[in-house]
């Protein structure tokens, strides 16, 4: 099967800045694909390369097997939901949504009918006559979605579409988006810097760092089996243990990743040959309590469940974990 989107050695440099640096990538048709990474890691640039707003400095982008070289955005059957929604402020909702069909020359009655259907799909029936300025953030987001979907794109690009929404609304929209994607079967490429969002929604996640993809895989793989310390830290908020520490416990000279919830704290007297740490601070998080530890020159974080004894700042504690919870990574980096 041809990939919906394929990057072959794609780079995009701005002067000295390597926004995207020699990326290979293949997104399958119908996949919900997330691009995850810190700010400035090149996620948006990748999306813009697919949409056609940017041209690669090197390499080739192809869409359903056809090269996109020199093809302007308006000739690609790819649509985008912009981070700031980019709704046309001078048009009301129905005209925003039916903009694509209008450009394609669809008669007014017909395209308005299609727009009504699209609004129905995003649960905004009857909002057609409002101006974008009269909508809440979540509603705007849905209009932007309807506007993109009405064109039946073969790939839908979403650039941090939920970034501006508040927590409750964000969770709700996450579920809705996921349901919609399943229903339509369209390929979704989703950019976010929120690891929870990427993990909960995507079929596959690509983790970006400094213009490169450092790991691609299913959410569970990326979360439980980080291949490099960067992924362990960024995706799982894991404690990254340096090789000398890992060697002390397991004998293997490797980086290790240990998720905060896997850290066990015990009485300092316990096992004098184990690892000892000093409690730096604690924070009640509701469902759990976060304990910051100083272990030699390493900062570690433990997440203790409700009911566990919470040590006091300054206290000496013994640190341990179940052997299977320590994930071993490549010794690189």
């Amino acid at each position: 099967m041809t990939a919906a989107v394929r990057f072959s050695g794609v780079s995009r440099h701005y002067g000295d800045v390597r926004a995207v640096d020699d990326v290979d990538l293949s997104i399958a048709e119908g996949e919900f694909f997330a691009m995850l990474g810190p700010s400035g890691s090149g996620k948006t640039t990748c999306l813009r390369l697919i949409a056609g707003f940017e041209q690669p400095t090197a390499g080739e982008v192809s869409i359903f097997g056809e090269s996109a070289h020199g093809v302007p955005p308006y000739r690609r059957h790819v649509n985008t939901v912009f981070q700031d929604y980019a709704l046309f402020p001078h048009l009301n909702v129905i005209d925003n949504v039916s903009y694509g069909p209008m450009i394609a020359g669809t008669p007014k009655a017909e395209r308005h009918r299609a727009a009504e259907d699209a609004l129905e799909m995003v649960a905004l029936p009857g909002y057609g006559s409002r101006k974008p300025s009269e909508l809440s953030g979540g509603q705007r987001q849905r209009v932007a979605l309807a506007r993109a979907l009405i064109n039946r794109p073969r790939v839908l690009l979403l650039d941090e579409p939920l970034g501006a929404l508040d927590l409750k609304l964000r969770e709700q929209m996450q579920e809705e988006l996921k349901a919609l994607q399943r229903k339509l079967g369209i390929t979704f490429v989703f950019v976010t810097h929120d690891q929870g969002e990427a993990l909960s929604m995507a079929d596959r996640v690509a983790v970006f760092n400094a213009g490169k993809i450092v790991q691609i895989g299913a959410p569970e793989d990326v979360y439980y089996r980080p291949e490099v310390p960067f992924v362990a830290d960024f995706v799982g908020s894991s404690n990254v243990l340096p090789p000398h520490l890992v060697a002390k416990v397991t004998g293997q000279w490797r980086h290790g990743a240990l998720r905060p919830e896997a850290v066990r704290l015990g009485d300092a007297g316990l096992g004098a040959d184990g690892l000892h740490a000093t409690v730096h601070s604690t924070a009640f998080l509701g469902a759990a309590t976060r304990v910051s530890l100083d272990l030699e020159d390493l900062s570690m974080v433990a997440l203790l469940p409700k009911g566990a004894r919470i040590p006091q700042p300054g206290e000496q504690v013994h640190v341990s974990w179940a052997a299977e919870d320590l994930h071993m990574m490549e010794a690189t980096e």
Binding site: P72, P73, F82, F88, A148
Partner: protein
């Protein structure tokens, strides 16, 4: 600090300032109705509305008025095109010369009008262009560009660049994007800028003095009339009418740019 109550001293200063700006204008209005036409006697000996009728009958007023309207309309048109082009170029890209461009646009208004006037006059002279309606228009358009430019650039700055990308993303080519997205979004700013450019051209004396041949625009007519009066109140009637008539576009420009980051009329 109570943010909704102004200190008394401020109120007085603001009111006094506004009064200072308005009393002389009221005077013009008063003199449009005086019965004394030879000197400016104060207080006026009596009031009459006959000067409105007299003004109506004066062909020279109409000629000057129609010339001024034509000049202002065409200069505004040219300024709209040039100003918008400039604003689009400057706001859409980060090319090396954008600083130069914005300085260049401001120059004709930042330099005294007499300099603009004399330079253009000598340029026309060098190029052997005889003074005509068009030399006036070119002079006016030169300093009107900045008003349109200021308004358009501010609007472009507010209009997010992603709108254009969104339009192309939805299948519209460059021209369709201009027609359906850019133009509707900058329309009110252009209208506001255009009105101000119009008013600016309509009142211009100094540059016109240098770029006009024998043509009389309304301000040139006024200068002539004020120095060598035939019927003094007629000048005041004309001035009053012009003030009242320009009030409409001013109000229009205000409501069109309200709540945006330009105060309409900046950069006259």
């Amino acid at each position: 600090m109570h943010s909704d109550r102004a200190p008394l001293a401020l109120k007085i200063a603001a009111a006094a300032g506004l009064a200072f700006m308005h009393l002389p204008i009221l005077l013009i209005f008063v003199y449009a109705f005086t019965t004394e036409d030879k000197s400016y006697q104060w207080p006026p000996p009596g009031f009459t509305t006959k000067w409105i009728g007299v003004t109506w009958e004066r062909p020279d007023v109409w000629e000057a008025l129609s010339l001024s309207l034509k000049v202002a309309a065409i200069s505004t048109g040219i300024a709209l095109v040039l100003g918008t082009l400039c604003a689009a170029a400057v706001s859409r890209t980060r090319f090396f010369g954008r600083e130069v461009v914005s300085l260049l646009v401001i120059l004709p208004i930042a330099l005294p009008g007499i300099i603009t006037g004399i330079s253009l006059r000598s340029a026309f002279h060098l190029a052997d262009i005889p003074f005509s309606f068009w030399t006036i228009v070119l002079g006016h358009a030169t300093f009107c560009v900045v008003v349109v430019y200021n308004n358009a650039v501010a609007r472009f700055r507010r209009t997010s660049g992603s709108l254009i990308e969104a339009s192309m993303d939805l299948g519209a080519d460059g021209f369709q994007t201009f027609r359906y997205v850019i133009l509707p979004n900058i329309a009110t700013a252009l209208l506001a800028g255009g009105m101000l450019a119009f008013a600016l051209s309509f009142d211009e004396v100094i540059v016109t003095t240098f770029t006009a041949g024998q043509q009389q625009t309304l301000p040139i007519w006024m200068l002539e009339e004020l120095v060598r009066p035939r019927e003094r109140p007629v000048t005041n009637v004309v001035a009053m009418m012009v003030a009242l008539v320009t009030l409409l576009p001013i109000l229009g420009a205000y409501y069109l740019t309200r709540g945006t980051d330009t105060v309409a009329g900046q950069g006259k």
